[in-house]
């Protein structure tokens, strides 16, 4: 049941010693990157001293775009992943060959832990490309020896056809999409419990409740495991639930895990809720020190029944910043604001609404039209509407529903919070 038993079930003392050694190696490596070069980074003698190292924020990655965190020569890098858009600089992450190998190993460890074996057929419905969800799991599954179907997202009929034709047993899927897919099974008078060989779902990329997980398990007759990751570390594989389904294990040989109070930045003891902070311990191309993930969670005190020593966090509760996750795609309201404000014909106010429709997230962008340049035709308005939709799709990769509103009909600018309404259930 363990992929790397000696690492997964290490004793506490050895883990701490190993981490101290790895942190010091990472501090040394990080010092070679332009961003950290000017920060006085001393080697530490105890893990407690690590609290003095400054935090790294998402904004730092943006401000030092594109190579500020790259410590290796670009020739050493073999892969680049990026967040959506070009507004305010996307978050770009580089990997060396060793980084890809390490990432693959983390994913393989996760998948083996939940029972995936070489006999399995793995259908990966996550997006491939710059988004890390697809490629991340893909490499791990192949390393494990499972037959991997890189089908990607969408086209539900085809998904079901592949599942039934090739006897898919393991699926990597957005929790919201799992429900949508089930509705098509029902429409086709198929019962996934009888008409497929599905047994394991890997669900992630968007926050979801325990209730939703149990619902998915019941509908499909599978075990569903919560996957955690972020592209700044690598992507999926950073943490995963074990068969106990009681918290997400974070791999402490790859990451140093802290939870802090997002306001005071003070580290919090296990059990208290705050912002997850991660430090890469083996990253070559782009080591990150005390990176503020923006994800709100808490460390679950005590050891897991599975025997693994690696810390567990609770499922992600939400965000410390205003990042939105729309069907697994991460985006910031500022990307929407900057994109629409550049378009002639757009007035002063806008409103972002996220709703649940047909089990999936739907993004609505309401935009006031500009009084002054209205020339009085319906075609001019639909042209404006299409232009806004197109420009937003290019920037955030999500296709929004753009609604034109009369001037003065939307709430007036009083800070970001009022411009985003998250009306999703779950």
């Amino acid at each position: 049941m363990y992929w790397e038993k000696h690492i997964e079930t290490l004793d506490e003392k050895t883990l701490k010693e190993t981490q101290l050694k790895m942190i010091n190696e990472t501090l040394g490596k990080a010092g070679e990157a332009p961003f950290y070069r000017n920060t006085p980074i001393k080697q530490i003698k105890t893990l407690k001293e690590f609290n003095e190292v400054p935090f790294t924020k998402k904004q730092d990655l943006r401000d030092h775009f594109p190579y500020g965190f790259l410590r290796k020569d670009l020739a050493e890098a073999v892969r680049l992943h990026s967040s959506s858009g070009t507004t305010g600089n996307p978050t770009v992450v580089f990997h060396t060959k060793a980084d890809i190998k390490n990432w693959t190993n983390q994913v393989t460890r996760c998948m083996y832990m939940i029972g995936v074996r070489r006999q399995d057929v793995f259908q990966n419905t996550m997006g491939y490309g710059l988004f890390t969800g697809g490629l991340g799991l893909h490499y791990g599954a192949e390393e494990l020896g499972a037959l991997t179907i890189p089908i990607g997202p969408g086209n539900s009929r085809r998904q079901i056809w592949f599942m039934r034709t090739f006897g898919t047993t393991v699926v990597h899927i957005l929790p919201s999409y799992a429900l949508r897919l089930y509705s098509l099974f029902a429409e086709m008078h198929l019962d996934p419990k009888k008409d497929t060989k599905l047994k394991i779902f890997i669900i992630g990329s968007e926050p979801h409740s325990e209730k939703l997980r149990r619902q998915i398990e019941g509908l499909f007759g599978v075990k569903a495991y919560n996957s955690y990751g972020l592209s700044e570390m690598c992507g999926p594989g950073v943490g995963f639930e074990c068969p106990c389904q009681d918290g997400i294990h974070l791999w402490e040989d790859y990451y140093y895990v802290e939870v802090i109070n997002p306001k005071t930045e003070e580290p919090l003891p296990p059990g208290e809720e705050g912002e997850l902070v991660l430090t890469t311990l083996q990253k070559e191309a782009m080591p990150l020190l005390r990176y503020r993930t923006g994800d709100l969670t808490r460390i679950i005190p005590g050891r897991c029944r599975c025997g693994r020593i690696h810390k567990r966090i609770e499922r992600i509760k939400g965000r410390a910043d205003d990042m939105l996750i729309i069907n697994g795609v991460n985006l910031f309201p500022i990307q929407i604001e900057e994109t629409i404000m550049k378009i002639p014909g757009v007035g002063n106010n806008y409103l972002i609404e996220v709703k649940t429709e047909n089990f999936m997230d739907k993004l609505y962008v309401k935009v006031e039209v500009d009084n002054k340049i209205f020339e009085g035709t319906l075609s001019g308005l639909t042209h404006l509407q299409n232009k806004i939709t197109g420009e937003l799709k290019t920037e955030i990769t999500v296709t929004p529903v753009v609604q034109l509103a009369e001037p003065g009909s939307l709430p007036v600018w009083e800070g970001k919070a009022k411009r985003v309404r998250d009306l999703r259930k779950n």
Binding site: F374, L378, L381, Q403, A405, E406
Partner: protein, 142 residues
């Protein structure tokens, strides 16, 4: 210039009511109206007796309104009258961007309002055939 008012509106209850309230408060008479919708929103075209005054009143209330040039043509209120007029325009390959009409005097006279893509040509083609194009003044006196 003869014109009507073109107004951007969300397609929701109360929106048209708000416009008519402003016109009512300013003692403006609506001669004719047409609505075109693109689902969530649409455009209302209003022909009124006091265009300038209506335009300012709406602007003052932050309504998205613009003036659109039109031709208002008097035709008999009788079968075939609109057909006869459209033949004149289509023979000159003139496209209509918007069109609606109203009765001026039952069974005697009607008016057709058009937005055309080629105004000078449309105007001269109609005058050549003896059509009566209403001026702003004539329009408000109807």
């Amino acid at each position: 210039m003869t014109y009507h008012l073109s107004i951007f509106m969300e397609n929701r209850p109360g929106k048209l009511e708000k416009i008519t309230k402003i016109l009512s408060d300013n003692n403006i008479n609506i001669r004719a109206i047409s609505l075109a919708s693109a689902g969530e929103f649409g455009v209302a075209k209003l022909l009124v007796n006091k265009g300038d005054q209506a335009f300012l009143a709406l602007k003052n209330q932050n309504i998205t309104v613009s003036k659109r040039k039109i031709l208002v043509i008097l035709i008999p209120d009788a079968p075939g009258a609109m057909y006869d007029l459209l033949v004149v325009l289509s023979e000159k390959d003139i496209n209509l961007e918007d069109c609606y009409g109203f009765v001026v005097e039952s069974k005697k006279q009607a008016a057709l309002v058009i937005e055309a893509e080629k105004y000078p040509q449309a105007e001269s083609a109609l005058r050549e055939k003896g059509y009566n194009l209403l001026s702003d003044q004539e329009l408000s006196n109807i």
